[in-house]
Amino acid sequence: MQRIIKPLLRHPAMPMLLVVQVALACAIAGNAWFMLQQKMAPLMAHVGVGQPQRLLVVTGLRARGTPWPAATLRGLETQLRQLPDVETVSNAATLPMAGQAQMLAYAYRPGRHAFVNTSVYVGDNLVKTLGLHLVAGRDFSAAEKATTLNAGMGYHRAGPVIITRALARRLFPDGPALGHAITFTGSQSQRTVVGIVAHLMRNDLTGDHRHNLDISMLFPGTPARWPAPHFAVRAKHAVDARLIQSVRRLVTQQLGPRLLAGTWPKVERFAVLRARALAPARAATWLFAAVTLIVLIVTGTGIAGMTSYQVRQRTRQIGVQRALGAPRRAVVRALQCENLLLMGLGIGVGAVLAFASNAWLIEHYAFSRLPLSLLPVGTAVLIAIGQLAVLVPARKAAGIAPVSALRAI
């Protein structure tokens, strides 16, 4: 150890520079990698929709003036259901992956005050139409589905609710959720959990929702005073162009006259909707992946450049060592140890820098805390890069002939 540290202390400038570099790289790559994880979460999460190739969605409906009455929406629903190849139809206020309109509620158990930010999907028949997987309890009954919801959208109304397994675990960590009541901030009534679905992704994807992606619930009924309704249509087979056309014709025929100027119904396969909803997350993922990669490459070339300079500087010393009988392996190992030491120091400083900058970002922007799990992964990756970068100059150093020590004097 002494043999490694002493020469470093004699000419501390270049090693210090390397430590600074590694620390900066550590802080930047750490935060970039963390942002990458955030953006990637919705891409990897379960949407919860079963057999999406059979699902068709109608979005972009905006009523001009007073929203469409429930009777009109139900009539259109019946007509859609009568189309050949259509299995079920659902009219909903919002749908997964249709992020233009969002409904949120802070759900909690009566008597406890741990709120959970939850996405709410209001609609009839959503479990069947979206193909959700019920893991406990039942679907809404026909009578429950036939409810008409007014401006309150069911927030202030007692009734049933179906929640995701993740929400059930969050609200009822110590027991079954089925049959228990939940309520929402600002609401005077309670809803009873009648069913639990395996997954259902929320539809507001801005911000950091890594741990909340699967937190959502369903209210039954037809929203009658909602200016932006959606329809979901489940076909008997994979959706084809003919079905899209007939759905579009029916929707335009029924709702067209009251559409807001400049808007038109969009009838799309669910996969198209999903791709569009996740496009920003996907693009950001690529961006941050590229940033992380470039930072690591720049760091790697920097380390390689500096080590090869150090080797050039120490040609004579290495030559003397070799002449005195040091094997090539020892020369390589000494350089590797030196690199490990400097990298360790840099990573230590860098980790402090990363967490400090993270704390600053949390204070000034909507940013989340860096997970501690980043530390071992980041350390391993950076040390591996350092060792790889030092390999070429170290092998060159090992190749220095003992005679060069004599020649240079």
Partner: protein, 432 residues
């Protein structure tokens, strides 16, 4: 002397071409990342309406129990403030998206514009090309008049001087009294609370007087908050606006004194109204400047500033790496410096010579950064984010790029050059 140093630097760059390329490329990547993100920051940091928005203020009337100031006003309330005439240049406005066609109902198109009352053109600084603005008498009489921009005029009539001709909205005729130049704020500064996506401004192609527009069934894009404020209370394009707060009042106030006077008036106005039972709760009146209002409502996407910070840190990393590369390169060539010292060059001259060399490397980095910045902006434009369209290159940014590149070059060279200058000549010559 400078020419000679430049010549020397050029010779050495050619000799160490591999390390020169690496230095230039590393600097270029850092500079390009910085310039790309700074272009976006520049867009959002500037004034939404250059030369005008610095003097524009929005009126907010908020229940004292609420924390977030509310700029949405009901039409009678906005009208009452306008009629008090406490400022020369003010207007109430709301976004609209009507379908417009020519007098015979042909060439129909959906366009974005404003429903407005008051001196809208002077308030927002929209220039007229032909015709005139509306008069107070026309406003009071709900006269069906309209202001359109040359873009819409071309679209509807194939000509730009269309003053006196008629357009059709919702089957009602509106007479065009003025044609404005195409106008678009750089950023969205009004209607921050409404469900209009994106942080960038929209073009205003048509401006209609509120009374006449509502009479013709042309409503605002969103009715804002109505009555009890339930989640389903938003309605689009409606004219049933009773009890809805859907207008914003923007006032141009050029001096601090005028501003203070106007705030005083607003406070008195709110108190008087509350006294007469117009408000159920005590209200707080306040004025916000354009920039303060945008900052308060977080109109600059978080991503813009975050990416700039990330890019700045990245440039720092690139520079620290280049310091290492340049130090190695200068110290490798210290024998030359030592010979020049032995022949009589001063330390300062050695320092200057090396600084010229590193600045030349910085200039090279800037040169490579130019296409890389264009590439970066192209990548941002291809991103599915609301501000993608703001990623346009400005020539003033290239001047900044050049300055940044030269400064980065000089900065990374400063310490290595100083070190080379300090080397004792005798030992260097012996070792070299």
């Amino acid at each position: 002397m400078f020419g000679y140093y430049l010549h020397l630097a050029w010779q050495r760059c050619r000799h160490h071409w591999a390390s020169s390329c690496l230095v230039a490329l590393t600097l270029a990547i850092g500079i390009a990342a910085c310039m790309t993100t700074l272009t976006l920051v520049d867009t959002f940091a500037g004034a939404p309406i250059p030369g005008v928005s610095n003097h524009l203020y929005v009126t907010t009337l908020t229940p004292t129990t609420d924390t977030a100031p509310d700029s949405q006003l009901a039409w009678p309330l906005a009208l009452a403030i306008l009629h008090a005439r406490r400022a020369d240049t003010q207007a109430a406005l709301a976004q609209t998206r009507p379908r417009v066609s020519d007098a015979d109902g042909r060439h129909g198109t959906v366009t974005s514009g404003l429903l407005a009352s008051g001196r809208i053109l002077a308030t927002l600084g929209i220039a007229l090309r032909f015709g005139r603005a509306w008069t107070q008498r026309e406003l009071d009489a709900h006269a069906p008049v309209a202001l359109i921009d040359t873009h819409l005029a071309e679209r509807l009539f194939g000509a730009d001087d269309v003053v006196g001709r008629s357009i059709t909205l919702n089957k009602r005729r509106f007479r065009v009294i003025g044609v404005t130049v195409p106008w678009q704020p750089r950023m969205r500064f009004s209607d921050v609370e409404q469900a209009v996506p994106g942080p960038l401004g929209r073009p205003v192609r048509i401006i209609l007087p509120i009374g006449a527009a509502l009479a013709a069934g042309v409503g605002p894009l969103s009715a804002g908050a109505c009555g009890n404020g339930g989640p389903a209370d938003t309605a689009f394009g409606t004219v049933k606006l009773h009890g809805c707060a859907w207008l914003e009042l923007w006032t141009r106030l050029d001096t601090p004194a005028a501003r203070a006077g106007y705030v005083r008036f607003l406070r008195h106005f709110a108190q008087a109204r509350q006294h007469h039972g117009y408000f159920a709760k005590p209200m707080h009146a306040a004025l916000y400047g354009t920039r303060a209002w945008m900052d308060l409502n977080a109109m600059t996407p978080d991503g813009v500033a975050l990416n700039a910070l990330l890019a700045g840190a990245f440039l720092l990393l690139c520079m620290s790496q280049v310091v290492g590369l340049v130090t190695a390169r200068f110290l490798d060539g210290r024998a030359h410096a030592a010979i020049r010292r032995a022949l009589g060059a001063t330390r300062g001259q050695i320092l200057a010579q090396h600084l010229v060399e590193s600045t030349l490397l910085g200039a090279g980095g800037g040169l490579v950064a130019l296409p890389l910045t264009l590439l970066g902006l192209w990548i941002v434009r291809a991103q599915p984010v609301g501000y993608a369209a703001a990623a346009q290159c400005h020539w003033d940014m290239f001047v900044l790029l050049l300055i940044v590149a030269l400064a980065a070059g000089a900065l990374v060279g400063a310490w290595p050059a100083w070190r080379v200058g300090r080397q004792p000549p005798a030992r260097c010559i012996k070792q070299g």
